[in-house]
Symmetry: C2
Subunit: 317 residues, 2 copies
C-alpha cells in the first residue's frame, strides 16, 4: 500500500480471458484495482476503446499515463507490440512499448526465444510480472507461471548485476488438462469434488515426474480411465490424479530444462492463481524444491518499473 494517494499511473494487465486495472501512486504503491471479464477474446469487432472505458469506469477522468501488458498487445489484440528476442535485459523491455493509434494506451511487447530444437517460443504479459518480481528479489531467479500455458523463466544478473531473462519455456499443461477433462474419454468418468484430493494428486505427480520416455505420457494418462474402471481410484479423484500427472511431467521436464540453462534448482518463484500455485508447490516440494509465491499485484509493480524506464512517470517518494 502506498504512502500517498495521488494516482501517477493506470497499470493494466489485459489478457485473453480477463482484464485488470490498477491505480498506482507516485511511489509505485498500488492504491486500488478493478477487473472485468473483458479479456481480448470477449471484445467483439475490435471495440477496445469501449472495453477500456468499461474497465476503467470513472478512472477514465484521471489524466495520467496508462500502460498495459498482456495479450492486448498481440496480433489478436488492440495493436501488436513487438516481441523482443531473448536474452533480454529487463531494463531494455521498455523499448518494446507501443502506443495505440488514438493514444488511449501504451502497451508493453512480449519476448521471443528459440528453444533447444530451434523452434520459436513466446511470452506476453509474464515478462512484466518478472520485471515486478526482479524489483523485489535479487540474484538469479527461476520463475514458474502456471496457467493455461505454464511458463518457466530463468533470470540471471549480467556481469554488471543487471537482471536479464536468459531463457524461458512454455508448457501447455493447463490447456492439456482442460481439453482432456472436457473433451476426451478421460473426462467421462470424472465427477466433481470441491477440495483437492492430495493423495490422488500426489499419486499422479509421482507417476508423471517418473516417466521414462516423452511419449510415455500418452500412455500414462490412460490410467485416468483404467484406474476408476478397475475401482482403484474414485471417479471424484480422477481429475486430481490427471492434474498431478501433467504437472509432475511438466516439473520433471522444467527441471531438466532449467538445469540446462544453469538455473539453481533449490527453489522457484510461483506467479499464478492461489489454487494453481498450491498444486505446483506440492509438486516442487516432491522434487525437493522450495517455492515462494509472488504478490498478486506483481504485474502492476512491473508496469510501474517499465513506466519509469520509459519515462512515462517519475518516481517521487
Amino acid at each position: 500500500v502506498s504512502g500517498n494517494s495521488i494516482t501517477a499511473l493506470l497499470a493494466l494487465d489485459w489478457g485473453t480471458t480477463s482484464a485488470r486495472a490498477y491505480r498506482v501512486a507516485s511511489d509505485g504503491g498500488v492504491l486500488d484495482e478493478r477487473s472485468a471479464a473483458l479479456g481480448i477474446q470477449h471484445v467483439r469487432d475490435g471495440a477496445f476503446v469501449q472495453a477500456l472505458a468499461s474497465l476503467l469506469g470513472d478512472w477514465r477522468e484521471l489524466t495520467v499515463p496508462r500502460l498495459a501488458c498482456g495479450m492486448i498487445g498481440s496480433r489478436q489484440g488492440w495493436i501488436e507490440a513487438p516481441y523482443c528476442p531473448c536474452p533480454v535485459a529487463l531494463a531494455n523491455l521498455a523499448r518494446t512499448i507501443v502506443q495505440t493509434p488514438g493514444g488511449e494506451l501504451h502497451i508493453v511487447g512480449g519476448i521471443s526465444c528459440r528453444d533447444d530444437a530451434d523452434v520459436p517460443d513466446v511470452i506476453r504479459g509474464e515478462e512484466t510480472q518478472i520485471v515486478g518480481l526482479a524489483a523485489m528479489a535479487d540474484g538469479s531467479l527461476l520463475v514458474i507461471q502456471p496457467g493455461t500455458h505454464s511458463k518457466w523463466t530463468v533470470v540471471v544478473p549480467d556481469r554488471n548485476g543487471a537482471p536479464e531473462i536468459v531463457a524461458f519455456s512454455t508448457y501447455m499443461t493447463g490447456e492439456m488438462f482442460a481439453v482432456l477433462r472436457e473433451h476426451s474419454i478421460l473426462g467421462r468418468m470424472m465427477t466433481e469434488r470441491s477440495t483437492l484430493d492430495t493423495a490422488a494428486f500426489l499419486r499422479g505427480a509421482r507417476r508423471g515426474s517418473a516417466l521414462s520416455a516423452p511419449g510415455e505420457l500418452l500412455h500414462a494418462i490412460f490410467g485416468a480411465r483404467t484406474l476408476p474402471l478397475f475401482d482403484e481410484l474414485d471417479p471424484s479423484s480422477t481429475a486430481d490424479y490427471l492434474s498431478g500427472m501433467l504437472i509432475g511431467a511438466e516439473v520433471a521436464a522444467g527441471r531438466q530444462w532449467a538445469a540446462r540453462h544453469r538455473a539453481a534448482l533449490d527453489g522457484a518463484w510461483l506467479a499464478g492463481t492461489s489454487v494453481l500455485c498450491e498444486r505446483y508447490r506440492i509438486v516442487l516440494e516432491l522434487c525437493g524444491m522450495s517455492a515462494r509465491v509472488v504478490p498478486s499485484d506483481v504485474a502492476a509493480r512491473g508496469l510501474w518499473q517499465l513506466a519509469l524506464q520509459a519515462g512515462l512517470v517519475t518516481r517521487s517518494l
Copy 2:
C-alpha cells in the same frame, strides 16, 4: 477368398464407432462383409437386438453361430465379457466368450495387464486381430494397432511354441491429436489440406521422437502454434506436424517399452486404417524399423480361430 461358399460363421467386429459383419466359410475364408455406423455409442437405450438385425440384414436368416469382438462386450456394450489377465495364451482367449441373454450373439472378452507402474491397462477387440495375425505369422510378433487409442502388443511363443500375449501398452495418441486439433489453441491456426505434407510430418516426428523428458511433450506441441505464428510452418501443414510429433513420441516410447519386454525391434506389424498405417510406417522407418500391414479382414480371421477354439464351428476343407 474361400474355396466354398457355404456360410459357417457370422463374425462381427463391433466397436465404439462402427460395426462390421463378415460371412465366413467353413474353411475360414471370408466370403462377404457388411458394415454400418452402429458402433455402441450410436445404439440408443440398449437397442442392440435391433442394431444387430440392421447390421446383418438378410444374413439374419442364416442359422450359423455368431461371434463378435470389440466394445460390444464392454460395460457400455450389450453384455460385459470379462478381461483375461496378461500373459495369456492365444489358445485360451476363447474361454472369455460369453453369450447375450437372448442367445443372439457370442462375444469375446478383452485382455487386461498391469503396466510398469502397476496401473491397469486394457484392450478389447485388438486381441482378436492378433489371434488372426498369429494364425498367419510365426514366431515373436510386435504388433502396433494405431487408432484413437493406439495399442502395442508383444506376442512370444511359449516353450511349446504356442503364441502368448506377454504384454501390451495403450497410447492415447489419436484421441490426443483430435482434442488438440478440435479444442485447443493449436487447432485455431490449422487449415485443411487433402494430402499428407510428408516434410512437415517428418519434421514433427523427428522432434517428437527426440524429446528428452516426458513433460517436454507439453512444451514441444506449442511449436504447432509458434511455428506458423513466425511464418516458419504453413498453417495447412500444422496438423501434419503435430500428428508427426505425437506419433514420433509414441513410437520412441513404444520402442523403449517393447525393448523392456524383450521384443525384437527390427520390424512391427501394423493393423489399422491405411492412412494411419502409412503414417506409422513412415515413423517406424525413421527409427530404423520395417513395417508390414496386416490384411484388413484380420479380425474376421481371428474370430474364426476363436470360434474353432470354442467349438462353435468345425473346420472343413
